[in-house]
Symmetry: C2
Subunit: 129 residues, 2 copies
């Protein structure tokens, strides 16, 4: 079984993935604490979600210790790319520059950010040649 076909994470699952990407491998307790303030997630809720995410292949688990340790299977960039790609098709009909435009409008991007994006474009173009 290849890793290439992970399902799109749901909203709650994405919140958990963000914690795992941020903290690295973590226990249920640690995930719960991290989500406590932002979402008020309860302990058994986080546990259940992580168990479901194992079934889906989104996370893997090390259960050698008493408190199991969970880890995201896909890198942040991979999942983010999947999500953007999804939105691009579903909402923009594949028009990347429309998406970028709306992203900048939504964010009211600063000049610094715009400059950063320009650098990215340069690198991107260099690579694709």
């Amino acid at each position: 079984m290849s890793k290439s076909e992970l399902p799109r994470p749901t909203e709650a699952e994405l919140a958990i993935l963000r914690v795992l990407w941020d903290r690295g491998p973590s226990t249920v307790r640690e995930v719960t604490d991290a989500l406590q303030e932002a979402r008020g997630t309860g302990y058994t809720t986080a546990l259940k979600l992580l168990q479901i995410m194992i079934d889906k292949g989104l996370v893997q688990r090390d259960d050698s210790a008493k408190s199991h340790v969970y880890e995201a299977v896909a890198a942040a960039e991979t999942t983010q790319r999947q999500l953007v790609s999804d939105l691009l098709e579903r909402a923009f009909g594949g028009s990347a520059h429309q998406l970028v435009l709306q992203a900048l409008s939504a964010k009211r991007a600063s000049s610094d950010e715009l400059a950063e994006i320009r650098v990215m474009l340069d690198e991107f173009e260099k690579k694709s040649k």
Copy 2:
């Protein structure tokens, strides 16, 4: 009541909105036909969705004729901006340039597209000054 607080459309609702943005005001029949190939949506399914979307304020209806005519309340750009903004927070922690980067990676954007995006950045920067 202001129009400013429309809920985020669901997946099926977004598919309908795209038809309405594309075609302009349309009947249930027209929406169903447009979605038939892409999604296999049945007539009563489209009708029910449109009725739900009226409750949510996503569409409005002209029922003066026998076949009611539905129209999107928000412009495409407005909803798209909302969706991108949402994804930006939920998946990227607000980092716009990370989102742009993943969008370009996902799309393998062409040089033409990249050029288009550069033009956009210029205009954007000009406006924000």
